[in-house]
Symmetry: C3
Subunit: 468 residues, 3 copies
Amino acid sequence: MAIDIDPDRLFPVEPAVRSRARALYDSVADAPIVSPHGHVDPAILLDNRPFANAAELFITNDHYVTRLLHAAGIGLQDLGVAVREGDVAAADPREVWRHFCDHWSDFSGTASGGWLRTTFSEILRVDAEPSAAVADQLFEAIADRLWRPEYRPRALFERFRIEVLATTDDPLDDLAVHREIAGTAALSGRVIPTFRPDAYLDPTVPGWRERVERLTAGVAGDGYRAYLDALASRREHFLRHGAVSADHGTLSAEVTHLTEREAAALYDDARAGRIDAREAARFAAHMLLESARMSVEDGLVMTLHAGALRNHHTDTFRRFGPDTGHDIPVPVDFVRGLRPLLERYGTAPGFHLVLFGMDEATASRELAPLAGFYPSVYLGAPWWFLDAPDAMMRFRAAVTETAGFSRGSGFIDDTRSFLSIPVRHDTARRVDASFLARLVMEGRVTMTEAERVIRDSVGDQPRRVFKL
Amino acid sequence: MAIDIDPDRLFPVEPAVRSRARALYDSVADAPIVSPHGHVDPAILLDNRPFANAAELFITNDHYVTRLLHAAGIGLQDLGVAVREGDVAAADPREVWRHFCDHWSDFSGTASGGWLRTTFSEILRVDAEPSAAVADQLFEAIADRLWRPEYRPRALFERFRIEVLATTDDPLDDLAVHREIAGTAALSGRVIPTFRPDAYLDPTVPGWRERVERLTAGVAGDGYRAYLDALASRREHFLRHGAVSADHGTLSAEVTHLTEREAAALYDDARAGRIDAREAARFAAHMLLESARMSVEDGLVMTLHAGALRNHHTDTFRRFGPDTGHDIPVPVDFVRGLRPLLERYGTAPGFHLVLFGMDEATASRELAPLAGFYPSVYLGAPWWFLDAPDAMMRFRAAVTETAGFSRGSGFIDDTRSFLSIPVRHDTARRVDASFLARLVMEGRVTMTEAERVIRDSVGDQPRRVFKL
Amino acid sequence: MAIDIDPDRLFPVEPAVRSRARALYDSVADAPIVSPHGHVDPAILLDNRPFANAAELFITNDHYVTRLLHAAGIGLQDLGVAVREGDVAAADPREVWRHFCDHWSDFSGTASGGWLRTTFSEILRVDAEPSAAVADQLFEAIADRLWRPEYRPRALFERFRIEVLATTDDPLDDLAVHREIAGTAALSGRVIPTFRPDAYLDPTVPGWRERVERLTAGVAGDGYRAYLDALASRREHFLRHGAVSADHGTLSAEVTHLTEREAAALYDDARAGRIDAREAARFAAHMLLESARMSVEDGLVMTLHAGALRNHHTDTFRRFGPDTGHDIPVPVDFVRGLRPLLERYGTAPGFHLVLFGMDEATASRELAPLAGFYPSVYLGAPWWFLDAPDAMMRFRAAVTETAGFSRGSGFIDDTRSFLSIPVRHDTARRVDASFLARLVMEGRVTMTEAERVIRDSVGDQPRRVFKL
């Protein structure tokens, strides 16, 4: 059976709304992609090697996909997910792909199913619906594409019309890859790093001591002050390499103010390995405040992704490591949690704080009211499980009446999957066009305003919010 | 005024979506009913006596109905609800029915109003809208139907095309009624029991000691181990009588792991009547874990209905007992609450855990992500207050993008009201058809996929999830 | 560019639904306005002076508007918001208005944008969209209107067809203004006071001691009992001046029962200034219970607005005072919080408790189930940030299936902005017509029922709930 991609997909069905949605979408469909936050490995753009195969490209490394196959009863080891103990052979990519094709029907109606289907058809131009019958044939057809020059990463980067692609990087990364990419002039768009310090801020993350040891190796002095200096210095390094933001991922959104004396004492305890979990969490919550202070000083946009309880199933974590599909959202209290930070820096000139959550109850209750008052606060686009058409539409409806359009971040794809980038941005544009078309037909915004809003949202808005 | 039942009821209004919804609905409208969880008294099917009268059938025993009449100012005693102290005469059913007819307009737009209206018209074929003017006439018309052979319980069971009807039963029930029904071959479908052990697991439930005394009377030994053996033995009894699931109703979803020594000590304290509320709650939370372990061992599907604060108004509870309309939902934390259980048994082969909640905020945040990873976790259908068209549609929209269709339980009617069973399943089929029709028209699933999904959802899905 | 006001604004787009929505709306479009809760200053109706200018009327005193301009980077001092230290000159109203016009596009899609646009066009009959280019011209055009006799407060009161307008007043207010208005017979509708005792009930509110000192100055005796007598006496004063309700605004919905001895001891501590924050909160939570008791006794309807964390940004509060745009909603637990109150008074004859919240998660989970059982509990209309078309529609969909239409309060505008009153009521009528039209087209209510419901909701329902 052929994949049937509807050119009017995701538009509301009512004809008058649909025609306006289509017109709004058409006005931005070909706009360049601004992607200020994501997880693509920049080395693929430097090396420009062909992607390996369909399984590695679409299944094994995408925990949105492996999780649904795991729920369907396929073990992660059979999907090629790296096993920590060395004694198990890697899964054959063809077998992995067959599992996926066998279970394609489980992806009906899901966000991942939507991305994959459109990517197969629109990006790879393979047009058969996955099924057990055509699994091998599809695997070959995709392999055939991947070896062609026009499917190498750089060619796709150009085809996708990417203006800016931000990666997410370890604070101690020397950013040589980014430097080399910038030096080659082989790409018409920019590839910029993002400072992601969580593992250096939170003493409960395994390996914190060793990491901080390395971080502070090159700075003068010792103790908490030297640690802050080292962080500031790495941020400076990132800024010199084009970084525009520092990204933080936390379980709660709780921020704590410690005096320098308290913070220094906890830091010393943590370095000495004599800190307990509770004190470590207080230190980490204080370091969010310090990150905000540094952002006020050096201008890096602060992004905060809050509310994922990581590695819910410990046995799977032990066997397969993190990012294996069992990070589960929990409620978040942005209002009281972030208050110490917003009290201090919420109105600081030039400070930008982009908030991302997965607790939909907070959208109208907390996020929109905060962004509707604090000049620093921006509404991050729907994220992770909510990065899907219906959820995106609920988000727009939940926040717009309180915060308008101007307090949004523009769309953020946050993806590891390079090939899905255009499809994701296309989806966001279709959903925004659909939301706006309804407001137009309900007499709430004029078509002229709607055109301005959607044009802004794909270009000037993310450029402005992320200081690009 | 005549009841006007629209054959296109509950379908979306836009004509293109409506015609697809109708086609999808038509493909399953006459499918047999699989009802793996509910509260019908099996004795009605054994005795096959006529239902008594309209008041007893539709008002007095349905706390969804009595609650709205209570809110309108009618005392429960005037609705025939049993008064605990013996000194009040039972209400006259005709008077009860008149109260209901007087207040019929208060049911406009409610789920109960919808069930009743459609049941009056489609099942009983009485076609006048209730009102003070026609109350007595309606009462007679219904009485006339109820005494006809075709309105006796078994005839209706056949007319409803029930394939499986699960009841909910006390662990010490000898299941003689079920055995006799199975023996008579008078029904073309199965009537199976469900093991419901709450009152034996939670020492805070009044009567726990006496109940556990009886439970353990027949087993060897004493203490906690004998108690576990007795529970396992009763589950075995239920399995031999066709049970497929064990049902649990809890305030929170909190599960606690106790060592056997701790559990045994708390058990002894509880038996001796020297346990406090907090320790009793810990023991009950531990017994959820033990129930899961038993399900892993004996294969009974575990269902968990979490988040109802029972008997909110103590004075009403004292006068009229439980299930009198003031069980109110509270927030539930499935993610942290169930973690100890899912850590141990979440990936156990063959284990099925069906989760039901009334806290809509958890649907996209917690339930869909859990069901999208754990092979054991299934999304229970919208339950209780959420078992209504708009709420069901919100549920589908909230979970499908993350978990797809395959992680659902199929529809669960969970009803005490035998006559409403076909109307409830019909509503679910209409809502699912409507949801799918929208996705089809938005280019998100093909009509072929939609047909497969809806067919599965009314038959193979509940059979698979409940091991029927 | 001219403001384009669609006569079908806010109606659903599908033509069959839209035509029914329009018919339902038309049946109530001209009904008089019953406004049982709001914040209009009654003195404007007594003095009947012209409104000063566009900035004062629409910007400076409306914290919904100033907050969005603040988020856009305009300081509150530049918007005319009173600065506490006397050393800053007040902003020029023309400059304030220019800031607003410069940022008009930030109001696209917001509730405030909708009110303003419709008010400019329909009430003031100025038809240019605000923009930097026309700012001064608009300011003049509005000034021109405001000086005409037909735009003075009393003329507008008549034009708006206001039947009842409730204000919100300090318990020690002598209500002379209300008495004089009632005496003049200059208005065809009633202007009635509302008893708002928060600042006298909660010892954590600054100035509580002085206020209670004044409150109890005129009553015999001393201590807690005299304090209760003084409150009851002021309620009596309000009742004599036509008040129908007592309004309470709280952070949580927590109610605590204290014995008279405990309450009296805490009261003495609070009066002596030796109470800590925790004990003060317990006393305030107890006084909610006392307010309910007084309502049971004297018949004042109790309204409760719960869940706003006031003055989130302390520095802004210090500089500009309260109600400056940074009150942010937090989660509320109505079920456990209100239980002590509902246990005692939930079924008390004649007691009316109208609940307002901004935590949408509670609508289907808590509010509708409570209102669907307790005869005293009514669902307050969507409030504050939720007082906007999409949010109102979500609220209707969330509560109706559980509680029906009869448990609602009717629309409450809760506004300080006199000129926006008709637009707000008009919006509510359009949204209700749209919600009902969908139910009609889905075969869930008949057109006859829908006509009854919407007629009731704008007239008899608020009259009944607020005992007007």
